[in-house]
Symmetry: C2
Subunit: 349 residues, 2 copies
């Protein structure tokens, strides 16, 4: 089959690789219908995370089940399925607690799973899914092609935005600021809106991204950053700031923006993968009672809640895809996101 | 009148000072019936926080209202009142949000208030309270002498323990670990028990403090610290740790203990005033989805909820006082707490 392999900085290739085979009993082979490129894939692409040897890549995909192992009970051949950006069993204590991203049997796409067999990367024609009954959620019937991008976001960005909002305690009537206007930030706006936030500020300097955020429910746009941005946000909310800030970037600057903007007693829900050496300033957080909660989003736990609204068209998170390409042009998908020509690129195998 | 003045390291004296006088219209003069020494008072006593000039000290007191200013509406002469460890108006946006410790007009005891007049320290015969209608809560009638120590804890330690538990999201059925066996840690155990936690571990190496924690509702004691303590706590809760950890110390070691012990997706509620240069390790928190929430406890916001249970004897947080002295012996009260001969000392003016 063909699958994407990253060889080094700005060197992504579609290559012929071995077809996956069932091997652990509870696994399944999924034919990928749509996959996409994640902001975190760009770390290896940009050389921020070194690539020591060629690696399979991609962790967001939807597709159709082609084969299942003898221990698979819930998932059936022919199901259209969405997988989270990690493999999980949904039976361990952490999965049951709602934190499947800390599954005790967790595996990663494009890597050897804890049982010793390879799980393919998502940017390819087929993927072996180690825990089919845990990781995969089947849609009722086959979704229309137009719905596929929306379903695909449940693999990562929509669930991640939802996690930021839940971690920050967003509920009906909340006031919310979203730091980050990429795909996850946009989904955080949508999630906050869905949860009933009464006012949602997107911090963004790009007209197209401001526009998408408004479509997703943002009520205000703040273009300023740093101290000026914080001061403007405080002013918008009684001079004290919003109840919740959703941090969807991961830099020291964005986290400072978030913790400084939140009102006393407010919460920062963060899903931006922390990079750089910044730690959290505990004395400042203590003096203001600003809480910080978030992390690797347990998106698998959110699929059942979000999927019906995606399928009936109430939630349209797939609008974050502003580029669709055949899998053969995966290198261009990476380049477009790297050069910020696209928010998020969808790939058709 | 007589009031406590700290002159420097291990130099606390009861001295003659000017009687307080009403000055800002909304203020009151309270005759102190009972006061106490806080762990944070020991910072100046131990020289951790330098004392550049003699300062009035003490921020926990209950007493009887002797005089009120012309703008005071709710509090009356003769009321028995409890004050929080700070002065607040209970009308600003932060107070209304439940975060009176960030009151926009907040003042401190033993310091000049934001209106420019002096608010006395709590360890004295009388205190001028700047925002009488905000800061003070009157009991219905005069409480029996036996109840006074319990009411006094609402000025700080009981409300602070309650804040740790709320910040960590403790609710019916929660599993909880409390780091710190001082007065606040003990009150955190009591607060978690009151909120319905099903299992509460106190980390303590002192038999008398273990015993008090058990009286307050602790179900388990762990004497080990560091990595060993974390491993034992994880084992007690399915190998993954408790839902909530209440951090009531404030050192890097205690916070590490807390963030390492919590289960994935769990929350650390922290009220130990951070000291030392330790910041929070965001990458580790991100990878485990452990949240951190807490800070300066808005104890004023909790008085109405806790006071009835204290008055009817259901809650007995005053058991944290294991030393009672006349105000004249305030120096001995500090020495006893400094030398860990007492958990917490109560003073009678």
């Amino acid at each position: 089959m063909q699958a994407t392999v990253i060889h080094g900085e700005r060197d992504v290739r579609l290559e012929e690789v071995p077809d996956p085979v069932l091997s652990t009993g509870g696994d399944a082979i999924v034919r990928v219908v749509a996959a996409c490129v994640c902001g975190s894939d760009l770390w290896r692409y940009r050389g921020v995370v070194p690539v020591r040897e060629p690696q399979r890549i991609g962790h967001e995909f939807v597709g159709v089940v082609e084969e299942v192992g003898p221990q698979v009970r819930r998932i059936r051949v022919g199901d259209f399925v969405v997988a989270p950006f990690y493999d999980c069993d949904m039976t361990c204590a952490n999965c049951v607690n709602g934190v499947s991203s800390s599954c005790l049997a967790r595996g990663s796409w494009g890597a050897t799973d804890p049982m010793g067999a390879f799980a393919d990367g998502g940017q390819g024609q087929y993927v072996r899914v180690p825990h089919a009954d845990g990781s995969l959620v089947a849609t009722p019937g086959q979704p229309d092609a137009a719905l596929v991008p929306h379903v695909l976001t449940l693999a990562d960005v929509m669930g991640t935005g939802h996690h930021a909002a839940l971690a920050a305690g967003v509920t009906a009537g909340s006031t919310v600021v979203v730091v980050g206007d990429g795909a996850v930030g946009q989904c955080a706006v949508l999630a906050a809106s869905r949860l009933g936030a009464r006012r949602i500020v997107i911090m963004s300097r790009h007209a197209d991204r401001q526009s998408l955020a408004r479509e997703f429910g943002a009520t205000d746009v703040v273009e300023e950053r740093g101290e000026e941005g914080v001061a403007i946000v405080k002013d918008l909310f009684d001079g004290i700031g919003p109840d919740a800030v959703l941090e969807c970037v991961g830099t020291k600057e964005s986290m400072d923006q978030a913790t400084l903007a939140a009102r006393p007693g407010g919460v920062v829900g963060y899903v931006g993968v922390p990079n750089g050496g910044a730690e959290l300033p505990i004395r400042r957080l203590f003096s203001t009672n600003v809480g910080v909660r978030g992390g690797v989003a347990p998106v698998r736990n959110y699929v059942e809640e979000l999927l019906p609204e995606v399928l009936d068209g109430r939630l349209r998170p797939g609008l974050v895809f502003d580029l669709e390409l055949p899998l053969a042009e995966v290198a261009e998908a990476y380049a477009a996101m790297d050069e910020r020509r696209a928010i998020k690129a969808l790939l058709h195998p």
